[in-house]
Amino acid sequence: MNAVMTKKKKKKIDWRNYVIFLPGFIFIFIFTFYPMAKMVVMSFFDWNIGFQQVSPFVGLKNYIDVLNDPIAKIAIVNTFAYAFVTVPLQMVIGLFVAVLINGIVKGSVGYRLGYYFPVISSWVVVALLFRYIFSNFGLLNYVLVDILHIANEPIGWLSSRWSSLFAAMLLGIWKGVGWNMVVFLAALQAVPKDQYEAADIDGANRVQKFFKITLPNIRGTLLFVIIMLSIGAFNTYTPITVLTGGNPAHQTEVVLTWMYFKTFNAYKMGYSAAFSVIVAIIIIVITVVMFSISKWRRGEE
């Protein structure tokens, strides 16, 4: 019975569906799925990338190495801290700016462009500028010590783990606000105007309107932005390399900087592959948990 049903169902599928689906599928299969699968395979080998070298199968050794590596743990903690701070702040500031720009009549193009400037600037160059701002004798300390006389001696912003991560987070937020602003601005324009008008009649104030009308209407965009920003945050590399280089003593290492070191300086390709898989699993688990909680909450409502 079941088999017949499936057969019938299968027959129904229009072959023309495949005409549309297959070209794109083949493209991503070759360029992303195949390398991804190969990387997962690599994670079970002591992968040698030399010329005509063989790679012995080592089972779960790479995974054990990663889990036993204190620096990998630091890198994961730092990366998650970076994500948990930069993602919400970028969104809140970006949405705030978008709401403000949405409410002005003149000069909105100018503001939109101005806030978008950091987005299109080169990561390397702005990271160098931030380094110059935060270094011991940099702009910030110069202003604090020599001009405003607030501090007696230079503050070592980049000298300790959390304060240098703070500088990196600030860079990430500064550079990301503009992108959030653009995406939220587009979403705000799509919120039906009659809903606001109805709320005006009810005498709702700005804050009420924002939480009762604006936010529910841009729910889809919010989810999209959270996902995009989190992925971006987990792939952060340049801010750390330029600002601290992982110093002091690997305390500011993030996932990608440590993976880069293991790949290109220590030639531990299998380790890097296993590290990738582990981080991906952590992210997937968190995502699934977050989705379930939000679904469960909505169900309760």
Binding site: Y18, F33, V97, V109, L185
Partner: protein, 288 residues
């Protein structure tokens, strides 16, 4: 009716000044570093990172000679042309691939499409650096080393998951189901998806993904550096690193001048699309 509009305008006017004040303060924070970058591009190479810092450079320090140097000694337009070509091709391929995939995931009946979509999402979640090894091997086997397509095809593949993800949601929310009928009128090919779905309706979303996809080749360094070793093929980010020296003094003036110049096409592209992006988004929403 009349009364209400008047009242609304009054409220709007009251909030207008604080809005501009807050926005302008934010704007200063946003563009001050950019301004510093621009001013540095007008200063001598060794005046950029000096300690103690100089907040306001004197006018006599500023000149256009770094730009002069870039135009005289660096094949800037060659690099710009390469980067633009890569950017445009990446944008186009990403549109073709992600729109057909997004449409398939959103509407078409294909066995196993959920699994494929799941894989596509996990590609986004994997920290990609370790993947560079199999990808480079693939590029080498496909003879894509020192070939500009080796950069384009991989860039397109990297931006596809994001673009598909965005477009899928957009098509689900905004493209009416009735459209599904018309797609097979032409015989149902990739081009039909374009004609009936992507271009007329999903255009704001397409504009949104294109803005960030266009930016990609102007930002990406590592892959481009590995694939394009011939000077005549290099993209701008790689060309800029040619000024970075391990031991000697880096010519910051040139770096900043070139970075400033590299931003111009991206700004133009943004201005070009953002108008379309905003109006398109509104009309799309009304239809939905």
């Amino acid at each position: 009716m009349m009364n209400r509009t008047n009242k609304k305008n009054r409220i709007v006017d009251k909030m207008m000044v604080p809005r501009y004040i807050i926005l302008s303060l934010g704007l200063i924070l946003m563009i001050t570093p950019m301004l510093y970058m621009f001013l540095s591009s007008l200063k001598d190479n060794d005046k950029t990172f000096i300690y103690p810092p100089v907040l306001f450079p004197s006018l006599s320090e500023l000149s256009l000679k770094n730009y002069q140097y870039i135009f005289d000694n660096v094949t800037f337009f060659k690099y710009l042309g390469n980067t633009l070509f890569v950017a445009i091709m990446t944008v186009l391929i990403a549109i073709v691939v992600s729109s057909t995939l997004a449409y398939s995931f959103a509407r078409l009946q294909i066995p196993g499409k959920k699994i494929v979509f799941g894989f596509l999402i996990s590609v986004m979640l994997l920290p990609g650096l370790a993947m560079i090894i199999p990808q480079f091997e693939l590029a080498a086997r496909m003879k894509l080393i020192n070939n500009i397509w080796g950069v384009i095809l991989f860039y397109a593949a990297w931006v596809t998951p994001f673009s598909t993800f965005l477009l899928k949601g957009y098509i689900e929310d905004n493209v009416p189901k009735e459209m599904d009928e018309s797609i097979f009128i032409d015989g149902g090919s990739i081009f039909s998806v374009y004609r009936y779905i992507v271009l007329p309706i999903a255009s704001p979303a397409v504009a949104a993904i294109s803005i960030s996809n266009f930016l990609y080749p102007f930002e990406e360094l590592g892959w481009s550096q590995q694939i394009l070793k011939l000077d005549e093929l290099r993209t701008l980010p790689v060309a800029i690193t040619m000024f970075f020296q391990s031991h000697s003094r880096t010519d910051w003036g040139y770096v900043f001048a070139m970075t400033t110049l590299a931003m111009i096409p991206v700004i133009l592209f943004y201005l070009l699309l953002q108008k379309y992006f905003i109006t398109g988004m509104t009309s799309g929403a009304i239809k939905g």
